[in-house]
């Protein structure tokens, strides 16, 4: 239009100023202040926890990152992935193989003796390698996603980790996968040589040696926490920019995106690659700083090959799809439920009479956790974070005197419901339903 628009003048300067103002945390909405408070509380966890508890809680940080990774692609663009462990495994194995089978032998060949700094550099190189391998995996899944919809894409995402799992077995022995992984991939029991960790007791396989258990636990916690902050910053930056609104628009209607001059294919692939890179990065850091840091299938795929993939979905949905923050809250809920249930060694009454042996509630894991996830789906379909945000908004409006708002119902359907609806439509299209 030929009339003057707000896009004229020095827009670039105004935008940069807005970014700076956001970064200076001025004029924050209440929920953002609460979010920052939450992050600060996470930073203070080591003050409260015992070393063993802290180790357990450190793992929760990785669950958060994994769930965020799923949320970026599935929560935002609605491309449902049922096998995100594919990316985690690529990242975890990627860094282990890069460090143990490439970088360390190379340093050895060159006759270098690695000090703490050298080892840290090698580890960082491994993390970069793992992240890149995972990102490549993101391209591998993202490209079919351009042609496949709904259930077909889900099948691809479901099969990919199973193929990878099988490859780990096929290429288990030394020399079975030359150049890429000369030492082999170790099969289901994983790589026996665990990659060096950032901090630990015992000097052989650590960059920095400490002499007390709790110092190592605290240090590993903060390294993991730093990784979480990096993941948060990246995902927040992308999803809160205009690209984020394109992501959610793809979830709603790809044609609408195309009709306003944007290429949905580009954004879809980007979402997959970003998600894969984040998942791979988290897994890679885990291998060097996390608790139980061993590159094996139990860790990176979950106990039943797909458990971890399902867990991250449950976490992201409990917390709230398409919010990023929801993944953090969801992981806390999930871990809390898991711990509480795992601690219930009360025998389930009646089972002994029926089957002759005792069965405690803890033995039935992960059944109760999944049950909890299903309950959340039914009663909190929006997820905890969006529900709380809505409740908080109404409460504030009510305090301002807008009486109706507390009672009024919001009829807009939840993200989960909309995603599921679209998924159903896509299935109906395939089976030739008369619904359209």
């Amino acid at each position: 239009m030929a009339t003057e628009t707000p896009l004229e003048g020095d827009v670039g300067r105004r935008r940069r100023q807005a970014v700076v103002e956001k970064l200076l945390l001025r004029d924050l909405a209440l929920r953002h202040r609460l979010g920052i408070l939450g992050v600060c509380l996470l930073a203070l966890v080591p003050l409260l926890a015992q070393p063993r508890e802290l180790n357990q809680f450190t793992y929760v940080l990785y669950l958060m990152m994994f769930a965020i990774s799923w949320d970026v692609v599935s929560g935002y663009t609605g491309q449902l992935s049922f096998g995100h462990a594919f990316f985690f495994a690529l990242g975890g194995y990627g860094t282990s193989v890069t460090v143990n089978q490439h970088l360390l032998p190379l340093a050895n060949d060159l006759g270098l003796t690695l000090g703490p700094v050298g080892t840290v550099l090698v580890i960082l190189g491994g993390i970069v390698g793992g992240t890149l391998v995972a990102a490549l995996g993101g391209v591998l899944i993202g490209v079919p996603a351009l042609r496949l919809d709904g259930p077909y894409l889900s099948l691809v995402t479901l099969i990919a980790p199973l193929l990878l799992y099988q490859s780990l077995i096929i290429f288990s022995d030394e020399g079975s996968l030359p150049v890429l992984a000369p030492g082999g991939l170790g099969g289901t029991s994983g790589l026996l040589n665990t990659p060096p960790s950032f901090v630990g007791i015992g000097g052989l396989n650590t960059a920095v040696t400490v002499d007390q258990q709790w110092v190592g636990a605290v240090a590993r916690y903060y390294i993991s926490f730093l990784a979480l902050l990096i993941v948060l910053a990246v995902t927040y930056g992308v999803t809160r920019s205009a690209a984020g609104s394109v992501f959610t628009a793809i979830r709603e209607d790809e044609d609408a995106v195309r009709s306003v001059g944007m290429n949905p294919a580009k954004f879809k692939i980007f979402a997959f690659v970003l998600s894969a890179a984040i998942g791979g990065f988290a897994a890679a850091v885990w291998m060097h700083a996390g608790p139980n840091a061993a590159p094996n299938t139990e860790n990176l795929f979950g106990s039943g090959r797909i458990d971890l993939s399902i867990n991250v979905i449950v976490i992201a949905i409990i917390g709230g799809m398409g919010t990023i923050v929801g993944s953090i809250v969801g992981a806390l809920f999930f871990a809390f439920a898991d711990t509480v249930i795992g601690g219930l060694d009360v025998a389930i009454p009646g089972v002994e009479l029926l089957f002759g042996s005792e069965l405690t509630i803890a033995d039935t894991s992960p059944l109760p956790t999944f049950l909890l996830g299903m309950l959340a789906l039914v009663f909190l379909p929006r997820g905890v974070v969006p529900e709380l945000t809505r409740f908080g908004r109404r409460l504030l409006a009510w305090r301002r005197g807008e009486v109706d708002t507390l009672l009024g119902r919001d009829r807009s359907p939840s993200t989960l419901k909309r995603t599921a609806e679209k998924y159903r439509e896509e299935i109906e299209e395939i089976v030739g339903g008369e619904s359209r």
């Binding site: 239009m1 030929a2 009339t3 628009t5 707000p6 896009l7 827009v11 670039g12 105004r14 935008r15 940069r16 100023q17 807005a18 970014v19 956001k22 992308v238 920019s241 205009a242 690209a243 609104s245 394109v246 959610t248 628009a249 979830r251 709603e252 209607d253 044609d255 609408a256 995106v257 195309r258 009709s259 306003v260 001059g261 944007m262 290429n263 949905p264 580009k266 954004f267 980007f270 807009s412 359907p413 993200t415 909309r418």
Partner: protein
């Protein structure tokens, strides 16, 4: 730009890239054995409002699906601003400066009306600061006000009446800042008052330099708006001229079931 392209009868001569801002030359689209568009040629001049008229099934939508890149034509050439744009993708066509409204469209239900419009202002880039300074929202609000959605822009699209949806679709197309806008059946199901409102919006767009092509299956409501009409049937042109000329054209009357009032 040749003057004889407007309103004249350049039937047998081929159109070139410089005959108008949007030119279709011998455009043809076949689906299997069916010819939906049969060697159609036309030229649209800058800042005109062209009515593109034809009975249901005449090939209007197919023509514009070929022109705007929804699918490639079987044969023929499309020139836009003097360049050959035949067969480029729909989203690239929008970037070239040609947008369209859809008869059957689904607004994004998960966000407010103004956010629907704002999406069209976002750049096709993965990393961007666009929107950070609030200027795209400001512009989106201005567009909403211009098309008459000022009071309802913070509602969700599902709360809009039918006329509101048409306006939203128009606003979304405007927000891509096109030079040529194709409007598909903008008056379907609108009251006289609402038709008048939209007519004014489109005239003001033209006044600001936009070229408009309005597609409809009849001319009711279009008479006050269009400068020139182009009538097709069975994928071929049957008449071209001012609205008055078209109304009195025997072939056009024939096309509309033996002289039904058009």
């Amino acid at each position: 730009m040749s003057a004889d392209a407007v309103g004249a009868e350049p039937d047998e001569r081929a159109y070139g890239p410089d005959d108008g801002i949007l030119v279709a030359d011998d455009l043809r689209k076949e689906f299997g054995g069916l010819t939906a568009v049969d060697d159609l040629s036309f030229a649209v001049q800058e800042q005109e409002i062209l009515g593109f008229i034809g009975p249901n099934g005449a090939g209007k939508s197919t023509t514009f699906n070929c022109v705007t890149g929804t699918y490639p034509p079987t044969d023929g050439t499309v020139y836009f601003k003097g360049e050959d744009v035949t067969g480029i993708s729909a989203h690239d066509m929008v970037k070239e400066g040609m947008s369209r409204t859809f008869q059957e469209f689904a607004p994004l239900e998960d966000r407010a009306v103004v956010k629907n419009v704002e999406l069209a202002l976002a750049p096709d880039e993965l990393f961007t600061l666009s929107g950070m300074g609030g200027e795209t929202e400001q512009l989106a609000r201005e567009i909403c006000r211009r098309v008459g959605l000022g009071d309802v822009m913070d509602q969700t699209p599902s709360e809009l009446p039918h006329a509101g949806m048409l306006k939203l679709e128009l606003a979304r197309a405007i927000a891509t800042q096109p030079d040529v806008m194709l409007v598909d059946e903008p008056f379907a199901g609108l009251s006289g008052q609402e038709v008048q409102e939209l007519t004014e919006v489109m005239e003001s767009l033209r006044h600001h330099g936009m070229t408009l092509i309005v597609v409809d299956h009849n001319m009711r409501g279009l008479l006050n708006l269009i400068d020139r009409a182009f009538v097709i049937q069975f994928g071929s042109k049957i008449a071209e001229g001012t609205p008055e000329e078209i109304k009195n054209d025997p072939e056009v009357q024939e096309a509309y079931l033996g002289g039904e009032e058009i």
